[in-house]
């Protein structure tokens, strides 16, 4: 008979908040007393607040575990009421993340998409050319500018209203990079329309891209079917969240 000492490992585990940072007017970074040395960029965790809900968040860091949370609704607002020392339950790491390729990195982040891309940029290291494009509606929504600079990447900023960086969508900054770096891989995380635009752009130009999709996660381990994306039964929680698209011709 099995004695599962680790039986709880796939159940939510107690974690304590050890540090809190404000990233912008509605986004905070939480550092937890949890260490997942095996986790890698693009993977996510499920955070549970008893009596509230359990929601997915991309890892910003694995050792210690960090997540950045934008306060947009019931769960995320509740997260923002927590203080250092408070408890949040987590399970993970879940999903398949980015698969680092050789060659230059072009990261494209919309909204909280900065989280997994900052993790990835650090992981890839400064032995290669690394670009990050962060896009937002307006200046105050921008995230992680300092963090990315500290990581030593080439930072490109776009806003829909031109209040910071280049005026326009992330594509404004992306197109010249794609021209200049045909062997680069585009790693992206952000809203669905952004990802769909990137997919077309990259496929037209025969450039490898890896896109992290958002979807309604329930089980997080490929059983309930609630996170299917697209028509082919692709599961964000198990096949993804990162979709790896190789260029048609190499």
């Amino acid at each position: 008979m099995l004695h599962l000492d680790d039986k709880a490992l796939s159940l939510p585990q107690v974690a304590h908040i050890v540090r809190l940072e404000n990233e912008n007017y509605r986004t905070k970074t939480f550092t937890l007393d949890v260490h997942w040395p095996e986790a890698y960029p693009g993977q996510f965790l499920m955070a549970w607040l008893p009596g509230v809900d359990e929601k997915p968040f991309s890892l910003l860091s694995n050792d210690p575990v960090q997540i950045s949370v934008a306060a947009v609704g019931r769960f995320s607002r509740q997260m923002h009421t927590l203080s250092s020392g408070d408890t949040v339950w987590v399970r993970g790491p879940l999903g398949h993340g980015y698969q680092p390729q050789s060659g230059p990195m072009i990261g494209v982040a919309g909204g909280y998409g900065v989280s997994p891309l900052h993790f990835l940029a650090r992981r890839l290291g400064d032995g290669r050319e690394r670009h990050i494009i962060i896009g937002a509606r307006t200046a105050r929504d921008l995230l992680f500018r300092e963090k990315f600079r500290a990581a030593g990447v080439h930072l490109h900023v776009t806003t829909d209203d031109g209040s910071a960086g280049q005026h326009g969508f992330v594509t404004v900054a992306l197109l010249p990079l794609l021209e200049r770096l045909p062997t680069a891989t585009v790693y992206a995380c952000g809203p669905k329309p952004m990802l769909e635009a990137l997919r077309s752009l990259c496929q037209e130009r025969n450039i490898a891209c890896q896109l992290s999709w958002e979807s309604y996660i329930r089980c997080g381990f490929g059983v309930c079917g609630s996170c299917a994306v697209g028509k082919d039964g692709w599961l964000a929680c198990k096949d993804g969240p990162v979709e790896v698209i190789l260029p048609a011709r190499v």
Binding site: L4, L11, W89, C219, G222, C224, G225, K231, K238
Partner: protein
């Protein structure tokens, strides 16, 4: 050796079918599971009207199995029908039957749901009677009493020409009695078991882990309960039985068949063995049957019913 199986006149390339509620939310997923080797696929149970979801957690892995309270969240039969139609078109090409699962909170609701999904022409309709009967003074699930189970069965039978499978709950004193009642009421087949009622408490939070408090236990933990239910039903009814509960290997599937199952449902094993679990289990079953000298699952069906 052939794994071909017949259930209510429907031909299954092998007896391993996807259980309801696992991956069955979208046409693309049903097709994907069929492509990976399943003998049949069941859609997630749909109800007359859209039902919103519970907050999470709704599905967790507790080590010895899963616990879920997905709460029968579903888009409703009207939205489900096109999903079923899309799935059916592709499944037909693959030669893999589609079982459409339905539930409702009233007898009339069941009839309506059956009629609606029936228009998408699934090969079989599974009638999941584990949902509480809102008409009943205590709101007990239809599956818990022979009378209410039989009522639903008779109503669905009238509403559709497609053969129906009635899916029973294990949370009863005598499952064979319920099985006999639904057979009498016209069930073409019986599926057993649905998940077993259970609860987990998080000791740090001091409260049940599922937002719904209690949930359904599935996976390896419930296998012996499912085997016994199938064994008892096989002695109580003459219609084919779809044996479900904790099956994760070819050996487990054969155990169900020996207990009396015609088809074997697989759900939680997708957690431990991936989406390919069903195809893998079918392959293992094939090898085992050959090793043990059987020429088909039919040969082995029910042989555990020793008379000595």
């Amino acid at each position: 050796m052939t794994l071909q199986s017949d259930c209510c006149g429907v031909y299954f390339p092998n007896p391993i079918v996807l259980a309801s509620g696992i991956l069955g939310t979208e046409a693309g997923l049903l097709v994907r599971v069929a492509r990976s080797g399943a003998g049949g696929v069941t859609s997630k149970s749909a109800s007359p009207r859209h039902r919103t979801r519970h907050p999470n957690p709704t599905v967790l892995d507790w080590g010895y199995g899963l616990i879920n309270a997905v709460g029968l969240a579903n888009p409703g039969v009207a939205a489900e029908a096109p999903i079923l139609r899309a799935a059916k078109a592709e499944l037909q090409r693959l030669g893999v039957p589609l079982i459409a699962s339905i539930f409702a909170e009233t007898v009339a609701g069941f009839a309506f749901a059956a009629e609606t999904v029936g228009r998408a022409a699934p090969d079989l309709i599974e009638v999941n009677i584990s949902c509480p009967n809102v008409g009943h003074e205590l709101g007990k699930p239809f599956a818990l009493e022979p009378e209410s189970a039989a009522q639903v069965t008779a109503a669905v039978k009238k509403a559709t020409e497609i053969p129906i499978i009635v899916k029973l709950s294990p949370n009863v004193t005598d499952i064979a009695e319920i099985g006999a009642a639904v057979e009498m009421a016209g069930a073409d087949a019986i599926a057993a078991i649905n998940s077993v009622a259970g609860m987990l408490i998080d000791i740090h939070a001091g409260r049940p882990i599922l937002a719904n408090l209690e949930g359904g236990i599935s996976g390896p933990a419930i296998r012996p309960l499912a085997v016994l239910a199938v064994y008892k039903l096989y002695e109580a009814v003459n219609v084919p039985i779809i044996g479900i509960g904790g099956v994760s290997t070819g050996a487990d599937a054969l155990e169900m068949i020996m207990a009396g199952a015609t088809l074997v449902g697989v759900g939680s094993a997708v957690r431990s063995r991936g989406l390919e679990a069903l195809g893998t289990i079918a392959t293992e079953l094939d090898a085992l049957l050959a090793e043990l000298g059987y020429t088909s699952p039919d040969d082995a069906r029910g042989i555990a019913h020793v008379t000595s």
